[in-house]
């Protein structure tokens, strides 16, 4: 009688049964995975250059590989368009799962109206100790509750300079004060090159940049307890400076926003620029002829005793409360800070969005980038400036968070102040009075 293989000493019954059980479990596993509900996570961001999109796709692919029942879809928005798009999304309930790169001041308003999911869990997943000290302070709108976090830092009002033009004009160093700035403009403008691409359009850039100019005059838009404090001599000085700069800006600066201003410097049409570190990659890819003659400095102030004021919009990450699949959404939000994908995202526009995690800044993989290596002094300068940066959502360390900052910027009231006084030559006292009233109305609304 032939022996059954089950009784073979070479293959004991126990081993066979264990193997069968394991095979059964293996066979069952795919069915369990397939049985899991397929879910889609929608990710919105206004930052969508081709290099950034490629980085996002890598992050998405890595996350999907780890979560086979999840599909992540990226959807573009824009700096000027996110407010209406999100308003419509919130109103309809058809919200994205994760929103990134909006300025921090936009977040607090949504939080105050109960539209956002607390971000504490995600910060815990990322590791709160990895963030730069104070990086999340602006998001703690209510004590102990975070409305979101920063996905990066930015120094949005850096002054970009052409060293070759400075040398030709006999300018030895970057202007420190407004008087020096105006003198530099006078010296560098000519031969088809304009001095600066400052924005005078009816848009958010004009508002945000001019808020910086008010601070560079020693003023502020709000007092620390959020009383409107824009009707001051400092704002009048800021308007005078902005008006004096108009003659050094291209004619079309009256309609400039971020893209136009960036292009005006990168193309070589302007001797100076005002933008984030995106200038570096754009100069190197679009106008390499000037790439070796580009540097940056902090934007000048009215006098040397007034400290610099850097506009950091603290590009954010947040989750709408109505987003479906909250657990997977939070996992994805935390995954955006996974070093491999995060560094690739930062490298997509080196110096534009600066790391918000100390562990990433120190990571050799982050430093290993030709742009960051070539312009290490500029990147360090921007990182230091951004670390001390503020925006209308919180104008200084003493200021309370301003949940209405987004609506003030979106209303265009500050851009209109600039246009009425600088372009239309209207009476500054009257316009400032009306501007104060309008801002107070928005704050009360």
């Amino acid at each position: 009688m032939k022996k059954s293989s089950f009784t073979s000493p070479a293959l004991p019954r126990r081993s066979v049964l264990t193997g069968m059980a394991a095979a059964g479990a293996m066979a069952a596993m795919p069915r369990r995975l397939v049985a899991q509900e397929q879910i889609t996570i929608r990710w919105w961001s206004p930052q969508s250059s081709p290099e950034q999109l490629a980085a996002y796709q890598t992050q998405i692919a890595n996350f999907e590989a780890q979560h086979q029942n999840v599909k992540v879809v990226f959807e573009k928005t824009s700096d000027e368009g996110y407010a209406p798009q999100l308003a419509a999304a919130f109103a309809s309930g058809d919200v994205p799962n994760v929103v990134t790169h909006l300025p921090s001041f936009a977040v607090s308003n949504y939080w105050r109206n109960g539209l956002l999911e607390p971000f504490n869990d995600v910060i815990e997943m990322i590791g709160p100790e990895k963030f730069y000290p104070g990086a999340n302070d602006g998001y703690e709108v209510d004590p102990g509750q975070y409305a979101g976090t920063s996905i990066g830092n930015s120094a949005a009002n850096m002054m970009w300079l052409r060293t070759d033009l400075m040398e030709a004009a006999g300018i030895e160093s970057a202007p420190r004060t407004w008087d020096e700035m105006l003198a530099a403009m006078e010296a560098m403008q000519g031969g088809g090159i304009w001095g600066a691409p400052l924005p005078y359009g009816r848009n958010s850039m004009t508002s945000l940049i001019f808020i910086g100019v008010i601070h560079q005059a020693g003023g502020q838009v709000f007092s620390p307890d959020l009383q409107v404090a824009i009707d001051t001599q400092e704002t009048r000085d800021a308007l005078e400076f902005y008006k004096a700069m108009r003659q050094y800006c291209p004619p079309g600066a009256t309609n400039y926003s971020w893209g136009d201003s960036l292009t005006a410097f990168v193309s070589g049409a302007c001797a100076t620029g005002i933008y984030t570190g995106r200038v570096l990659i754009n100069v190197n890819t679009q106008n390499p002829g000037i790439a070796d003659n580009v540097t940056c400095a902090l934007y000048p102030t009215k006098s040397a005793d007034i400290p610099h004021w850097t506009f950091n919009d603290f590009p954010s990450v947040f989750i709408p409360k109505a987003a479906p699949n909250m657990e997977a959404t939070k996992q994805f939000a935390a995954f955006l800070f996974d070093p491999e994908g995060y560094i690739q995202q930062l490298h997509a526009a080196p110096g534009h969005v600066l790391p918000v995690l100390q562990t990433i800044s120190a990571d050799p993989a982050y430093q290993d980038n030709p742009i960051i290596e070539k312009y290490s002094a500029e990147v360090d300068k921007m990182a230091a400036a951004a670390a001390n940066g503020y925006n209308l959502g919180r104008e200084s360390a003493e200021h309370q968070p301003n949940a209405k900052a987004g609506e003030i910027v979106n209303s265009g009231v500050i851009a209109e102040l600039v246009q009425r006084v600088v372009l239309n030559d209207e009476n500054a006292d009257q316009v400032l009075g009306e501007t104060t009233a309008r801002i107070e109305e928005i704050m009360a609304g």
């Binding site: 000027e80 209406p84 999100l86 109103a91 539209l115 005078y200 009256t254 309609n255 609304g445």
Partner: protein
């Protein structure tokens, strides 16, 4: 006789029910797409509503009081009227002129008739991007060409200062929408009887006299319809102006549509935006009444 008196009302009732049944889908669709949004807008206008949550408090006619007492609505209404009259006038002149040209026996007439429709078919976003590039102060073909011809010494700020911004918007609007006038006028031109022109020639009328005395009277009916339809469409134009100037400089090109958008989505004040919309609708109602009167309610 008795049967007839009892059956006729029954038949009528059956016909009436059938009629109501047949017209019901139209009524339902009409109610959903026109009546409901209209009533919703009026309802919203009585509240102070935060757009993202659509929650708010009843404020009665406060939004209408703000509308009437504030400057925004009246300023935007004035801008809207300037834009509408300006662009519509140009559309009519260009459209009639081009239609007359294309009605002639010229070379490549079919090709020209097709090409003239191009701006009308082009996406507004694409058209505006092209025009913004043309108007660009640093690289724009418009400034470059005018400077090459010696007409300008320095680049002109086309879209950032007044009155250039309004002129620029009106020009682009006329370029974009004049083909509609061409199509309608050309169709009418082809139906004008030749004997009217022959009679005019026999009477010694020249080309200009024939245009004023024959062509224009024949075009009158179609022009009335075109002007009223285009006036309504131009009055509520949004995308072209928003993309070209965003309503600036300051509020010089901010039409009522842009004001509504600004209030609803930038300031998140849906109630006030709804009040502006109702105000805008009332103004448009005037256009509609004129249209109905001119077309005899057909």
């Amino acid at each position: 006789m008795t049967v007839a008196t009892t059956n006729t009302p029954l038949l009528e009732r059956q016909y009436a029910r059938l009629g109501a049944l047949l017209i019901a889908p139209t009524i339902v669709v009409f109610s959903l797409v026109i009546v409901y949004p209209l009533l919703a807008a009026i309802y919203l206008s009585l509240f102070s509503i935060y757009t993202p949550t659509l929650e708010g408090d009843f404020v009665g006619f406060a939004n209408y009081w703000d509308l009437l007492s504030g400057r925004e609505f009246w300023n935007s209404l004035r801008v809207t009227l300037v834009w509408t009259v300006g662009t519509l006038s140009l559309q009519i002149v260009l459209g009639v002129g081009m239609a007359l040209l294309l009605h002639q026996n010229i070379w490549f007439r079919s090709l020209a008739r097709s090409l003239v429709l191009f701006p009308y078919f082009l996406s507004t976003v694409v058209a505006v991007l092209v025009w913004r590039w043309l108007f660009n102060d640093l690289y724009g073909a418009m400034n470059h060409g005018l400077m090459q011809l010696g007409i300008l010494d320095m680049p002109l700020d086309w879209l950032g200062s007044m009155p250039n911004a309004m002129i620029g918007v009106i020009l682009v609007g006329a370029w974009k929408y004049f083909p509609f006038v061409v199509i309608a006028v050309l169709a009418r031109l082809q139906t004008i009887p030749d004997h009217l022109y022959e009679a005019a020639r026999i009477d010694g009328a020249g080309p200009i006299a024939r245009f004023w005395d024959v062509t224009l009277p024949q075009l009158r009916s179609v022009l009335v319809v075109i002007i009223l339809l285009r006036a309504i469409w131009d009055f509520k134009e949004f995308d072209l102006i928003y993309l070209l100037t965003g309503g600036g400089p300051v509020t010089s090109t901010q039409t009522l549509s842009l004001l509504v958008y600004q209030e609803a989505f930038a300031l998140n004040q849906m109630g006030q935006a709804a009040a502006y919309s109702v105000g805008m609708m009332l103004v448009m109602l005037v256009f509609m009444l004129v249209y109905l009167r001119k077309t005899g309610g057909r």
